[in-house]
């Protein structure tokens, strides 16, 4: 997601972008049409004649590279990419642009170091890729557990964001109505994934990606049109309207003091590396039929992310230039309503309805992908490989997978309802930090280092995960700050809000130390066949 940023959108302004009567209903109608059409297409396309794990987890791996790239883009971009990033840029100028860029840059790591070798060694999950050369049970257990943790953090953040959107978009101010939105989206997510698996998730994410791009391009063109197609005029105007003058596009508006600068570096490190270890991104890489197609998919995703990053910069600066920073801050101090304000200023009710629907569709598509990934980890890694020792039948694993979707969905809905009015904006950053600290080191070592061992994998994942979680619990995100999760207590002894700066090096270090000093496998686990698959991209092609 761009993931990018913290949905939980903290929308604290009085502005309602749709009138309580007519426009609300138009958002409902358009979103319902989107949901119905997706269901209809998924039923039409369902020619499966029985339980099939490949179909449920990987959509039979029939997607062409460009389509998979587009869907991967849809899976990665959260509502925060559409709403949060332009908002941050409109308020913070240069600092916001730097913040937005890192998750797009990270696709170079996915493309060059991960996509092809991962596709060649994994069937469905991270555990599969590791178990190719390491001892299966421990790595399936730890990889499955880490995937579940990341997925739950992410799911909760997304669903809380859905509730936060209910007030400004639909005019639902009461906590009951907001929780109703969270429950409805969560139940839709469960319905889609239980009955359609990866096929319906793909459809949701593909349609959402097209709509997201359409909205982004329309707003970008509208902004440029307002400034006579002259980007220099746009930049100059944004500086004037920001109230900061030239300082608006210089470092230091958001990250001024020593601690916040370190926090920015930590967050950038997590975002720059984290995408390459996100379980739902890795799962999507396995939905094409070869490592070469995985490479082409990720190429498209990387370029689309960069393109959307440029659009976010245009939209963010355009909002400041056209509306003025003071107006944006007065509406929501977080800036998360910037896109709605900008769209409203264009006087197009249809576009405003479309933006509102895309925001909800984005959340639905992202949570569906994450839920499927978490269910796959629970059913395939933990049930199939750890509990059943790899001897579970397809039918029983599929049943467990569908039950897991319900279980994970209900857990995420419950957590999100509880957290609806808590400040949990650190959760997405934490998910990226865990991904970069626990999963990325393990995957890179497993694919590229012949001395790597099972002990190294377990230490790296447990150490990276544990360090990231403990540091966040001891950070100002959880206590000791008026904006913390628990503002009335103070046990914040770690000064940074994102743990990546410490936990990522620890994850890599533990993987290395535990492998080098592993007495059971002193020269590393057998790397020959993995190396052939990694280097030559041979293996796991669709038969």
């Amino acid at each position: 997601m761009n993931a990018q940023r913290a949905l939980p959108l903290h929308i604290d302004g009085p502005f309602t972008y749709a009138s309580p009567s007519n426009d609300n209903s138009s958002v409902f109608i358009v979103f319902s049409v989107f949901v119905m059409l997706t269901l209809l297409f998924s039923l039409i396309g369902n020619n499966s004649d029985g339980p099939d794990l490949d179909e449920f987890y990987a959509g039979s791996r029939r997607l062409p590279p460009f389509v998979n790239g587009l869907v991967l883009f849809g899976s990665y971009m959260s509502a925060a990419a559409l709403l949060g990033n332009p908002g941050l840029i409109s308020l913070s100028g240069y600092d916001g642009i730097v913040y937005t860029l890192a998750p797009a840059i990270s696709w170079v790591v996915v493309l060059i170091l991960v996509a092809e070798p991962y596709r060649s060694t994994s069937r469905f999950t991270i555990g599969d890729s590791l178990a190719y050369r390491l001892r299966p049970r421990p790595v399936h257990l730890v990889a499955g557990f880490t995937t579940l943790v990341i997925s739950l953090l992410y799911l909760t953040a997304q669903l809380v964001g859905a509730g936060a959107l209910a007030a400004p978009v639909l005019g639902f101010d009461s906590p009951f109505a907001q929780r109703g939105i969270v429950a409805s989206l969560g139940l839709l997510m469960i319905l889609f994934v239980v009955f359609g698996g990866m096929r319906v998730t793909t459809l949701l994410q593909g349609v959402k990606a097209v709509l997201l791009l359409a909205v982004g391009v329309t707003l970008g063109i509208a902004v440029l049109w307002r400034f006579g197609w002259n980007p220099l005029e746009l930049i100059n105007s944004s500086m004037r309207q920001s109230g900061f003058g030239e300082s608006f596009l210089r470092p230091g508006i958001k990250y001024a003091d020593r601690t916040s600068k370190l926090d920015l570096i930590s967050l950038q490190l997590a975002f720059s590396l984290g995408a390459a270890g996100l379980p739902h991104v890795l799962m999507r890489i396995t939905t094409v039929d070869s490592s070469r197609n995985a490479r082409s998919s990720v190429q498209w995703t990387g370029l689309l992310n960069l393109f959307f990053c440029v659009l976010a910069i245009l939209i963010g600066l355009g909002a400041t230039a056209l509306l003025g920073r003071d107006v944006i801050v007065a509406d929501a101090s977080s800036g998360n309503t910037t896109v709605f304000l900008l769209t409203g200023s264009l006087k197009s009710a249809a576009l405003l309805t479309l933006v509102s629907c895309v925001a909800f569709a984005t959340i639905l598509a992202v949570v569906a992908g994450i839920t499927l990934t978490a269910a796959c980890a629970l059913a395939h890694d933990i049930y199939g490989q750890v509990i059943m020792h790899g001897r579970a039948s397809s039918q029983s694993e599929l049943l467990i997978a569908r039950l897991s979707v319900g279980l994970i969905g209900v857990a995420a809905i419950t957590l999100s309802m509880y957290a609806q009015h808590l400040n949990i904006s650190f959760l997405v950053g934490l998910a990226f930090a865990i991904s970069a600290s626990a999963i990325l080191p393990t995957i890179l070592y497993n694919l590229w280092w012949k001395r790597f061992t099972t002990q190294g994998a377990v230490w790296s994942m447990c150490g990276g995960l544990g360090t990231a979680v403990v540091l966040v619990v001891l950070s100002p995100s959880v206590s000791g700050d008026p904006a913390a999760l628990l503002p009335n207590v103070d046990f914040a002894i770690f000064p940074l809000r994102n743990p990546g700066l410490i936990s990522i090096p620890i994850g890599f270090l533990l993987g290395w130390v535990a492998s080098v000093y592993d007495r059971r496998d002193p020269t590393g686990c057998d790397y020959r066949e993995t190396e052939v698959r990694v280097l030559a991209g041979i293996g796991n092609t669709r038969s």
Binding site: I112, R250, Q268, G539
Partner: protein
């Protein structure tokens, strides 16, 4: 863990093809590290020496904005470059390697995850 016969890897053609692939992969890995390094360097420079990053180049661009634009362009170029590089350098060697495997009748690598 199930063991496979890897004696075919000792043959000269296989070793030479693998060496070619190793070298080609190392080069692209360095490029990936450079992109991430450039991004993190920009952030560290902005945090530590904001004065330099604020230095104007051409109105309204300063060093920081210029580096961001360069980073976006550089990253896009690397993504496109890698696709071409892989087609030109990695794919032919991979196909050669696959043909060698096929010639030896090795079915271990034909597909499917290890059970």
């Amino acid at each position: 863990m199930q063991q496979y016969d890897h004696s075919w890897l000792a043959s000269q053609p296989s070793r030479s093809t693998l060496k070619t692939l190793r070298t080609a992969r190392k080069r692209s890995s360095r490029v990936a590290a450079t992109v991430i390094g450039a991004q993190l360097s920009t952030v560290v420079l902005a945090a530590e020496v904001p004065g330099i990053m604020s230095h104007p180049i051409v109105d309204p661009f300063n060093v920081g904005l210029f580096l961001i634009l360069m980073q976006i362009g550089f990253t896009a170029c690397v993504i496109i470059w890698y696709g071409r590089y892989a087609k030109k350098r990695l794919d032919p060697a991979s196909l050669r390697f696959a043909a060698e495997l096929k010639q030896r009748g090795d079915t271990t690598h034909s597909g499917g995850a290890r059970p």
